[in-house]
Amino acid sequence: MPETMTDDRTGIRIATEVKEQDAAAREVRAPDIVIKDVNLSYGDNHVLHDISMDVEDRRVTAFIGPSGCGKSTLLRCLNRMNDLIDHVKITGEIRVKGLDVNAPATDVIEVRRRVGMVFQKSNPFPKSIYENVIYGLRIAGINDKAVLDEACERSLRGAALWDEVKDRLQESALSLSGGQMQRVCIARAIAVEPEIVLMDEPCSALDPIATLKIEELIYALKEKYTIVIVTHNLQQAARVSDRTGFFWLGRLVEYGPTPDMFTRPQDRLTEDYITGRFG
């Protein structure tokens, strides 16, 4: 975790390390996810308006904004979880590593294999820790014990949970603490080696210490994965993300490098939200 300092204007603690390397943070990388003119409506309810943005490779991108602004909806567009809801209409184009997510020919299973997801409420299956972590491999038809064991250990190490649970892999995942359960979910998501990990408010149900652990984990995971995180916690966005997008009433108001967003927001709305004047 990098050293932090408090920003004078917004009062938000941001990573000094990032601040020092502002230049590096602002450096534009190849886009991993390209979102172009996305509109989404639930029946008559127009939820997303003309969203266009690029999510960069192996960076943490945070979506912030008040409740109901559409940030979770956009996140769920990226692995087509909105398919589960009736009467959803999506237009525009989303490409994940070149794969057109919404194209009729695209296999939704393929999309979800490549784009893992961690949910707001930790949702481990009522199975053992081991079975939870290797769930993705099991459904892919892998039953070779050596492969599964290896994947389980690798994923749990990746989720910084291995040392805590290595002796109780066969116990129910529901016997773990809230933070551990959420890390099991992260381990489960990365076990299938996705290219992108989506996190929908992963810490909102956790205490500060568990939150800290998850944040450290996110910091470590971005070495390997492109991460998109939705959060209500501005400090969290400032601490862990490289890019931040601010959403308001279904529109992307401002999107840029995190240090700039929190110190020099370009838009009046962004500034008001970040400084806590509304939201």
Binding site: N79, M81, L84, I109, E110, R112, R113, G116, M117, F119, K121, N123, P124, F125, P126, Y135, G136, R138, I139, A140, S172, L174, C185, R188, A189, V192
Partner: protein, 545 residues
């Protein structure tokens, strides 16, 4: 003040509490009546010798006492009368007799009187006076005969078992094979009619040879049986009844005899246990008024098991489609309402449907296709345990569908999303996540369905239940399980014994006892399901349950 009292909701607590109390009271009373009437049946009551004013005597168990109704007269309901179970139906014409207490000159408990359970005519109550073997008198006088009785009865039981073994075992097998041979012969006849050119003489000759062999064995066994019958238990015991009549019984006819007034408490308990065991483990005798209910217990359990095997997949699959795959809309809502209403259709309607569809249509078709040689005797085209079970499965399927749907709906959305987000297909999600999590709820539905099915009688009467089934649906003849056979059922047994019996008065306690066993079986079956459910619940514990 009052308003404050009311708003605290205290009266509501009382209301709810009393509602529960009334329910419990009614169930408790029902159980009490059944238990008291049913469990007392096997207890060996003392035999009372009643001397009447006119000098005649009657010996029997006092089973009832009531006020004599005499409407309009001053003595209305003031005098009492007692009901005696006299037994000796062959001598007296009826087992029971009401005696006005005013006519009774004296009562005593005579020593040495026996309560004899025998093959026919109900029990015999009297004193053993002579024991003969052939023409030779082996013992005479109650003091000499009584000590010899237990050994004679034991020997008789052994001989009966040996005879039954030949009758049902060896001869039964031969009969079964002769019948099979007959069916094969008829099959050959049919074949000859269809293809007159074909030469079947070789098969016929072989069959005839087999048949002759079986016939020879049959004759030999029959002869052996006859010899055994003659040599078995040659003893004959003469009993003298209260009015002085003498009755001679073959030892083989005697099933149990106990000196009712000379038993100690442990002795009575032993008789009680032995009678209870007979009731549970043996076949019924004397058109179900004596003996046991084992075939009915067996039939009930078997039917419930077959029903369960049929109803669970059907109900769960239907619920899965309704809840997971069908597009929720007016049509699905209508189907759901229809399914719910199906649970309210009178069970006899299901019985009529089962008779028409399963028995006549499906069974008749199976007979036409596979059991042609036996026609016009139906094999599957008549009531049987399979058709009865399937009819009950149909009757219970709404319960399972409704419970399963609720269980599926209770699986949290987050868990499905977790699975889908991992790239699982809907099918994989249902199979690996939704169904295991819903399993306890589905089992609850199964428990309800089993309770409903086990207690149902009306549809069974049309689809395969009988008063007396000579063979169990499960036995040693290939293919061991015979789904076409008719069977006995405890619920129907209650109806039959209580209302269709030639000797209702004697059979009355059996109604209660049979009820107890039906309750016990339903309870045991449910308990099994509950244990399984709790296991699953622990295994798949989620926040939703």
């Amino acid at each position: 003040m009052l308003r404050k009292y009311l708003s605290r909701g205290e009266p509501l607590v009382w209301f709810t509490g009393s509602a529960l109390g009334v329910c419990l009271l009614m169930i408790g009373c029902l159980l009490l009546v059944v238990l008291v009437n049913g469990l007392g049946f096997f207890w060996p009551a003392p035999l009372v010798l009643v001397t009447l004013q006119d000098g005649s005597k009657a010996l029997g168990e006092i089973v009832n006492r009531e006020a004599v109704p005499n409407p309009g007269q001053p003595d209305h309901l003031l005098r009492h009368r007692i009901q005696l179970k006299l037994g000796n139906r062959d001598l007296l014409g009826s087992d029971f007799r009401w005696i006005d207490e005013a006519q009774i000159a004296g009562r005593e408990l005579p020593k040495g009187v026996y309560y004899v359970e025998r093959r026919e005519y109900g029990p015999l109550l009297g004193t053993p006076v002579t024991l003969k073997e052939g023409d030779a008198v082996k013992a005479s006088g109650p003091e000499q005969v009584a000590p010899l009785l237990p050994r004679i009865i034991e020997q008789a039981a052994r001989d009966r078992a040996a005879i039954e073994k030949i009758e049902k075992g060896t001869i039964g097998t031969i009969n079964y094979q002769i019948e099979r041979g007959r069916l094969v012969a008829r099959g050959l006849d049919e074949l000859a009619k269809r293809e007159p050119a074909r030469d079947l003489s070789a098969q016929r000759a072989k069959l005839e040879q087999q048949l002759a062999e079986q016939q020879r064995r049959y004759a030999a066994e029959q002869e052996r049986l006859e010899k055994l019958r003659q040599s078995a238990s040659p003893a004959r015991v003469t009993f003298r009844t209260a009015d002085g009549t003498e009755k001679e019984l073959q030892a083989l006819e005697i099933y149990r005899a106990y000196p009712a007034n000379d038993l100690t408490l442990p002795g009575r308990a032993a008789v009680y246990a032995s009678r209870l065991w007979t009731f549970v483990a043996e076949d019924p005798r004397e058109s179900n008024t004596e003996g046991g209910i084992f075939p009915a217990i067996f039939g009930t359990v078997m039917m419930v098991i077959i029903m369960t095997i049929a109803v669970v997949p059907l109900g769960v699959l239907a619920a899965l489609y309704l809840r997971e795959y069908a597009k929720q809309g007016p049509l699905v809502r209508t189907v759901r309402i229809a399914v719910n209403n199906l649970a309210g259709v009178p069970s006899i309607v299901f019985g009529v449907f089962g008779l028409g569809f399963f028995v006549y249509f499906v069974g008749g078709t199976i007979d036409q296709l596979f059991f042609r040689e036996a026609l016009p005797t139906p094999t599957y085209g008549t009531g049987g345990i399979l058709w009865a079970s399937l009819t009950l499965a149909l009757l219970a399927v709404p319960v399972v569908i409704v419970a399963s749907e609720e269980a599926l709906a209770a699986v949290p959305r987050s868990m499905r999303e977790a699975s889908l987000a991992m790239g699982a297909t809907k099918f994989q999600t249902i199979l690996r996540v939704v169904l295991p999590a819903a399993a306890p709820g589905i089992l609850t539905g199964l428990i309800l369905a089993m309770a409903r099915g086990a207690g149902e009688v009306a549809p069974l009467m049309l689809t395969g239940v009988v008063k007396l089934a000579p063979q169990l649906p499960l036995d040693g003849f290939f293919p061991f399980f015979h789904p076409d056979r008719k069977f006995m059922h405890l619920g129907f047994h209650i109806y039959d014994v209580g209302f269709q019996s030639p000797n209702v008065e004697a059979a009355k306690p059996m109604v209660y006892t049979t009820t107890i066993f039906l309750l016990i079986i339903v309870m045991l079956l449910n308990l099994t399901a509950i244990v399984v459910r709790n296991k699953l619940r622990r295994k798949y514990q989620t926040s939703a349950f």
